[in-house]
């Protein structure tokens, strides 16, 4: 298992290097340091102000090749934006935001809390609601409840998540006035008031796909011999569904779930942006909109790292959940 993990970490490292290279190439294919500087200091600043900003932030270097140095000089390759990009990311020296010069590490730290206060309940409630509803419809399969829920699931899956947000804000926040339309307060006494609506919207928008997937998994398990045996032995319905079906359906559920856990830290892009939650998802959206390369590369880098960690955790959880699985 150790050799397997080592190999996976090695592949993961190469993947991260590739992601960083792709990000660099794609970002500078659509923009350039002048544009970053212009966004940072404002459209109306004079050219000398742009130039000084680029020097202050290291964007005065060439992208790939520094022709100021001879071919044999290593600085021809190391004194470039690409080399600086790799150096900063691989040493976790995230630097300062291009948009407002604030420390990116501090912004990550500040944003992680609000993101987690949204994503953890969203993830947990979504999972519980999905499993509960899927077990329910699986239990009543082939009845009108099953069919009605499936139709509803298809409907919810067909609607864009942005529409859920706008409709949720308008219907629940504006017309029915149950919760604030947007906002966030770190004070736990009133934080729930702000989180109720985004969590509700997030759970509902993701429920359709989850229920359909989980229902299929549960129905497949329910047709197995061990379920029939359990029933024949006089096991109650609840016990059969929860103790036997749910436990044996854990592997596909884990595949779906464990990989999502690391992403709880990176926040929910749209929900945070529309509900005014100052988390890491909103930070990413802002970095994209504001041409903030320093922040964007950090978020993409962390996202790639977390994805790889999620994949490895999933593999480990397979082995833990099912003794038949061997990692080699």
């Amino acid at each position: 298992m150790a050799a397997y993990l080592l190999r996976r970490v090695g592949y993961g490292f190469l993947t991260v290097l590739g992601v960083l290279f792709l990000l660099f190439v794609l970002f500078f294919a659509v923009t350039n340091p002048d544009d970053i500087a212009r966004k940072a200091v404002g459209e109306r600043a004079r050219p000398e102000v742009y130039a000084q900003w680029k020097i202050n932030h290291g964007y005065d270097k060439p992208l790939f090749l520094n022709r100021d140095f001879a071919g044999s000089d290593a600085r021809r390759y190391t004194d470039t934006l690409l080399a600086e990009h790799y150096r900063r990311m691989l040493t976790f020296d995230f630097g300062r935001s291009d948009a407002d010069d604030s420390s990116i590490a501090k912004r990550l730290w500040d944003g992680a809390g609000p993101s987690l206060t949204l994503t953890v309940p969203l993830f947990a409630l979504g999972l519980v609601a999905g499993i509960a509803l899927a077990l329910f419809v699986a239990f009543f399969r082939e009845t009108y409840i099953d069919r009605a829920v499936l139709v509803l699931c298809m409907l919810t899956m067909s609607v864009a998540s942005l529409l859920y947000i706008i409709a949720g804000q308008y219907l629940i926040g504006m017309l029915l006035k149950w919760f604030p339309i947007s906002g966030f307060d770190p004070n736990p006494a009133i934080a729930a008031r702000f989180l109720a609506l985004p969590v509700l919207v997030g759970v509902i928008s993701g429920l359709g796909a989850d229920v359909r997937f989980l229902r299929t998994v549960f129905i497949e398990e329910m047709s197995r011999d061990y379920v029939r045996t359990a029933r024949a032995k006089g096991c109650g319905d609840a016990r059969v569904m929860v103790r036997h079906v749910l436990r044996n359906a854990l592997i596909p559920i884990l595949t779906n779930v464990v990989v999502q856990i690391p992403f709880l830290f990176t926040g929910a892009l749209l929900l945070e942006s529309f509900f005014g939650i100052p988390g890491l998802g909103a930070l990413t959206v802002e970095a994209i909109q504001g041409n903030d390369f320093s922040t964007l590369r950090t978020m993409v880098y962390l996202g790639a790292l977390l994805f790889i960690i999620g994949q490895i955790l999933t593999d480990i959880s397979y082995a833990l959940a099912d003794p038949r699985v061997r990692l080699s």
Partner: protein, 676 residues
Amino acid sequence: MRAGCLSRFLVLTALAYCLAVAGCTNDPYPDSDRGEKVLYSAFSQPPKTLDPAVSYGAEEHVITGNVYDTLLEYHYLERPYRLIPGLAEAVPAAQPLPEGRQAYRFKLRPQVLFHTDPCFTLSQSGRQTREVTAPDFAFAMMRVADPALNSPAISSFAQILGFADFGKRLVELRRADAAFAALTPRAQYARAGGIAGIVAHGDHELEIILAEPNAQILYWFAMPFTTPVAWEAVAYYNGRDGRPHFGDHAVGTGPYRLALYEKQHRFTLERNAAWYGSLPPNVEAPGAVFPKEIDAQDSAAGRIDASYAGRQMPFVDRIKFYREREDIPLFNKFLQGYYDTGGIIKESFDAVVQSGRLSPEMQARGMRLDKEVEPTIFYVGFNMGDQVVGTAAGERSRKLRQAMSVAVDAKQYLELFFNGRGVLAQSPLPPGIFGYDASYKNPFRLHDVARARQLLAEAGYKNGIDPATETRLKLTFDTYATTASSSLPLEFLAAAWRQIGLDIEINSTTYNQFQDKVRRGAYQIFVWGWGADFPDPENFFFLLECRNARSKSGGPNTADFCHAEFDRLYHEMKYRPNDAQRADLIRRMVAILEQERPWIELFHREHYTLSHAWLVNSKPMGISHAAYKYKDVRPELRANLRAEWNAPVRWPLYLVLILVVAATVPAVRTYYRERL
């Protein structure tokens, strides 16, 4: 799963659901705010920096404008805008000096204190504040001149004697001597010898010496760039030992101090009890009391409460700003009464404004609509360096530009794409700026398709046909609008020109590529806009000065317009005071632009502000945003109206519950009947 167990589960779920429903509220504010004189506002973009030498944007000015006082400020109610004294005792008059120089002497108010802050222990142990003196202004100006700070205003003060030289000396000294570079900014500035044209005469008099006359420089003393800066604050807030940078920690003298600053999320301004205007001997200062003369129109419109005339400011204890990244939630929260003022989103414009007035529904809620023409100009520009539309083609291209100008129906353009929020432009000057003539009608801005065709024929392009190619004259309309919605206004303009026979190709690129084209001069027609830094005609006409031409200096004259007579008039007008001769110079400049048509002036933007009935003394200002000290709220009225507008509607929750039970129970019962 037994029936009894399921029933218990359902009953418990329903109970929890009902409890949650009973406790719900949409109030986003803490209960401690109730009954307080708090003003609520929103921001979409966080401030980049609060360092007054660097901050420039409106999102920063809402803080810096209220936390930092300036020597001069704008009269809150008067239009056209007029400067009044702030920290200065009077608006200084220009004093001529030998060699064509000019000086302004600011006499400073006594007993002006910085906000209490631990940084002042640097100058004296245990000290929490100190009086503002003339060297604090000189220090602030030296920071603007310091190239390391990268102030966007550095070129605006270039006429101050020795201003640019000071910056050069600093750079050289820092490069030559590492020990010098390690000194605090204050020590560096002192060793670099300061700026020759900024002289502190004792503690309460500041002299600014200009190498050449410039009456407009006074406007810059109404901006936070020139606010007094405590050297202690700059030295103390350096980002070390857990302390923030000076750009994230404002230490000013203003009527409000920054009490909370989570810049990505929210910030709070709190009344400064030791503000100079609240204490003798400055309680009668023009910037400390509400204007005594109140315009009857402002009063009748409900914008200004006449009973506030001459009262001591500020009126509100706290101003809370919350970040709203999206317009729709912001507008909806304004409608619920959770923000005191708001703009109007495009999607709801027709529901809010009908025939230019507030809709009856909004009027019934006690709202007020205020309009203010901003000092802006939106225009179509021609590249005057182009061989076809530019000056090289002589009279032919002039007629072509005139024809294209007459072909554009700016009124319809404004209605279609901006809900009519603007004033049709006849020249670069908007209303409220000296030299604006409301009676002037530009003959080439009257929409007339037949005349446009006639002018086009006179240009030698009858029906748009270019005799050289015997095909329609092809022109390129360059833009960085790449989305369908942002391209629509350009399509409208292109359609107007196609109507007279021209072949217009819209060339959409990224902003970057567009900028690159502008740099290379590889463009013909473009759409652009400008918002003035200060309310002076110079700040509009400089966009057409030859020295600022894109091809000459990479400056903001994107039309690349160079006209000797226009430049001569501009230089004569530039630094003159607002007198009859200046007005005449402006008329002559406008007449040149009328004929030459480097621009097709479209409109001056009009800002619509909605205010709730409980907000008092809210008059929109196109130039300055530092107006919170004038505003007041009526918390009782706000609380009552909020309660009335935001009572939760609970019946749908119970209905949902009943529907779920009604749909589930028969299935469960049937299932068990069949199985058991």
